[in-house]
């Protein structure tokens, strides 16, 4: 038979033209085609045994440090180790218990545990900056990344807009950080150290938005830089 779109001569069992992707009705429905059309099986890789062993090792290490601090008070070292190990575990090992971990769920878990590390650091060193400065900033970064991860996972296309938007939010966050920093240290508002990241992130974000908005420019860049 012939493809009605591109005119290629095809075998009798073809369901789609291999040259122009035109869907076809096979002339001989019993013809099986060249190969079975069942999907490729997923390769099962089970690392749960290894993760279990690593979990036990981390728990043992954390438990030993905690016991040491309980036997020889005051407790100073154990919370650092526990929150540090917890952050590492939440970032790298916890998602591995699932075959297809969803980053939309695990990213907030990591940020919550690592916020605990910041909180204890603030308490231990007596900064008093956790609620006025660190929590809003850490929460802002988490919200921005969570939004990007969710959009990338559930929305098709629009990557230039998503990543461009992320860079613009990071530019805004660097400004917010400076404002909160001056407010926490009771200084007058001025823009100094946040200027460079604002310019850098802002320029990157705007460039990505322009590339997303102007398709001919995007094609030119693809040709030029072989993307």
């Amino acid at each position: 038979m012939f493809c009605p779109n591109c005119g290629a001569r095809l075998g009798e069992g073809e369901i789609k033209c291999p040259l122009c992707a035109q869907p076809l009705t096979p002339r001989d429905p019993k013809a099986a085609g060249l190969y079975p059309r069942t999907p490729r099986p997923r390769i099962k890789e089970d690392f749960r045994g290894l993760i279990f062993v690593l979990t036990l090792l981390l728990a043992a290490a954390g438990g030993m440090v905690l016991a040491w601090d309980l036997v020889y008070p005051p407790m100073t070292f154990a919370p650092y180790v526990l929150f540090g190990l917890g952050s590492f575990y939440a970032a790298f090992l916890l998602p591995r218990w699932w075959r297809r971990p969803n980053p939309v769920i695990f990213l907030p878990v990591f940020f919550a545990v690592s916020a605990g590390l910041w909180w204890y650091l603030d308490l231990d060193l007596g900064w008093g900056l956790f609620f006025p400065l660190i929590l809003p900033l850490w929460g802002g970064i988490m919200l921005a990344l969570e939004t990007v991860v969710t959009l990338v996972r559930y929305v098709r296309g629009g990557k230039f807009f998503i990543y461009g938007g992320l860079f613009l939010v990071l530019a805004a966050l660097s400004f917010v950080f400076e404002v909160l920093w001056h407010a926490a240290s009771e200084e007058s508002l001025r823009i100094s150290f946040s200027l460079l990241p604002m310019i850098l992130f802002g320029t990157l974000g705007l460039c990505l938005l322009v590339v997303g908005i102007v398709p001919p420019f995007r094609r030119y860049l693809e040709r030029r830089f072989f993307v």
């Binding site: 290629a8 001569r9 095809l10 291999p18 040259l19 060249l34 079975p36 999907p39 040709r223």
Partner: protein, 423 residues
């Protein structure tokens, strides 16, 4: 067979790179299949495989790790016979090749064998497949004459398991050409699906077209591929950033050096156009490719090419390095140099000939090589009973090369029929 009786072999010189370069989702695998006039009987196929396995001690093997090198160990049991479930040439994982480094598959009327390239090359694999076909037909009750086919009743010949590279290596070696060629790119299939597009045509038509230009079929197809790839490059890349377009051609060294080995005895060389000449017309390409091939296909030139590989294996410093370090280095070399000198590979297995009674029972032969590790395409050719099959594989969505190469064949007066596994 007891554990102590199992025979083992060192990997041949060409095979050493294949285990080191395999990774998750890619391994160097190729496949030869034949299609019968009647549906396959799995039980007869199992009996045939069990009968011929001892005849091929260097093929029915598994890959094992030593302290300094990989080696091949004979399998106690014959290879398993499995019904083909999905796409061809699924990558073989390290766990797969540690059990058995080849697969015997059947689907409706077709029997296929997929080989990990460390075992053998196309010619060695074809000898195995021919014997399998003969043994299968015998098991189904068809009397077969073993003319030009290795008989399973004969014992294995030590000459068939030799590393012919070592025997034929010379004193002088060629330097390798590191200049990178244009790479075809595309959107990767998310599930790793491998598209196979097969063009069948009258071999006499293609031969007549090649003879008209005074060149071989391989040279003609190489010229068509180079021309098609050059057109794609012209569309995608600015002239300032263009690269050479080269096709890597596999050459069976048994034609040039005495060898009965069933292991790898194959070399490769590149033909094509260099940067700045990629606008060459087909009429200009025919003599260019023809003369490049003639220059490369000199026994002395071929010897210098594989002597370079043999020399690198013989160095004492390399031999004393533990396997895991060798793997790191070999993989880094493969990733940076191995595939970058050519855009894709063209492997022509040539004409498959069988005794008359087998030809009546077997309709068709196919030969497919897997895609490259970092480039999506490869191309394999085989001819049987006057029909020539060109199988192009790709692991990306866009059929960019097929859209240019196959219409080019038609426009040059070669009538083709396309079959594919498009879904």
């Amino acid at each position: 067979m007891s554990q102590s009786q199992k025979r083992w072999h060192r990997l041949d010189n060409a095979a050493k790179i294949f285990p080191a370069s395999m990774r998750r989702g890619w391994s160097n695998v190729f496949r030869i299949s034949f299609t019968l006039t009647s549906p396959v009987c799995p039980e007869a196929l199992k009996r045939a495989v069990a009968r011929i396995a001892p005849r091929f001690p260097s093929v029915c093997v598994r890959l094992r790790r030593g302290l300094f090198w990989y080696y091949l160990e004979e399998n106690a049991a014959p290879p398993a016979v499995v019904e083909e479930g999905c796409q061809p040439l699924l990558p073989m994982t390290a766990r797969d090749v540690a059990k058995c480094a080849l697969r015997v598959l059947y689907f409706e009327n077709r029997i296929a064998v997929e080989f990990f390239h460390a075992l053998t090359d196309g010619t060695g694999a074809l000898s195995f497949v021919k014997t399998l076909a003969a043994a299968y037909l015998e098991e189904t009750g068809l009397p077969v004459r073993y003319e030009g086919i290795l008989s399973p009743e004969d014992g294995p010949d030590p000459a068939e398991t030799e590393d012919s590279f070592l025997r034929h290596a010379g004193p002088a070696a060629d330097k390798r050409d590191p200049d990178p060629a244009f790479r075809l790119t595309g959107t990767p299939e998310p599930d790793g699906f491998l598209h196979v597009t097969c063009a069948t045509m009258n071999a006499a038509d293609l031969l007549a077209r090649a003879r008209k230009e005074g060149i071989s079929i391989t040279a003609l197809l190489s010229a068509f591929l180079v021309h098609s790839v050059a057109q794609i490059q012209k569309e995608r890349v600015s002239p300032r950033r263009e690269r050479a377009v080269r096709v890597q051609i596999a050459v069976n060294l048994r034609k040039y050096f005495e060898s009965r080995s069933l292991r790898n005895f194959v070399s490769v060389f590149n033909v094509g156009v260099e940067k700045g000449d990629t606008d060459a017309t087909l009429a200009e390409l025919y003599p260019m490719v023809h003369h490049q091939m003639a220059l490369q296909l000199q026994p002395r030139k071929l010897r210098r090419v594989f002597t370079a590989n043999v020399n690198s294996e013989k160095g004492m410093a390399i031999r004393l390095v533990p396997l895991f370090l060798k793997n790191l280095v070999m993989r880094a070399v493969f990733d940076t140099v191995g595939e970058r000198s050519a855009t894709l590979c063209l492997s022509n297995l040539g004409v498959v000939s069988l005794p008359e009674e087998m030809e009546r029972a077997i309709d068709r032969f196919d030969f497919i090589i897997g895609p490259q590790a970092k480039a999506p395409y490869n191309c394999a050719v085989v001819s049987y009973k006057g029909r020539l099959c060109i199988n192009i594989v790709r692991n990306t969505r866009e059929p960019a090369l097929e859209q240019r190469f196959f219409p080019l064949l038609e426009s040059e007066g070669v009538s083709i029929t396309l079959e594919s596994n498009e879904r």
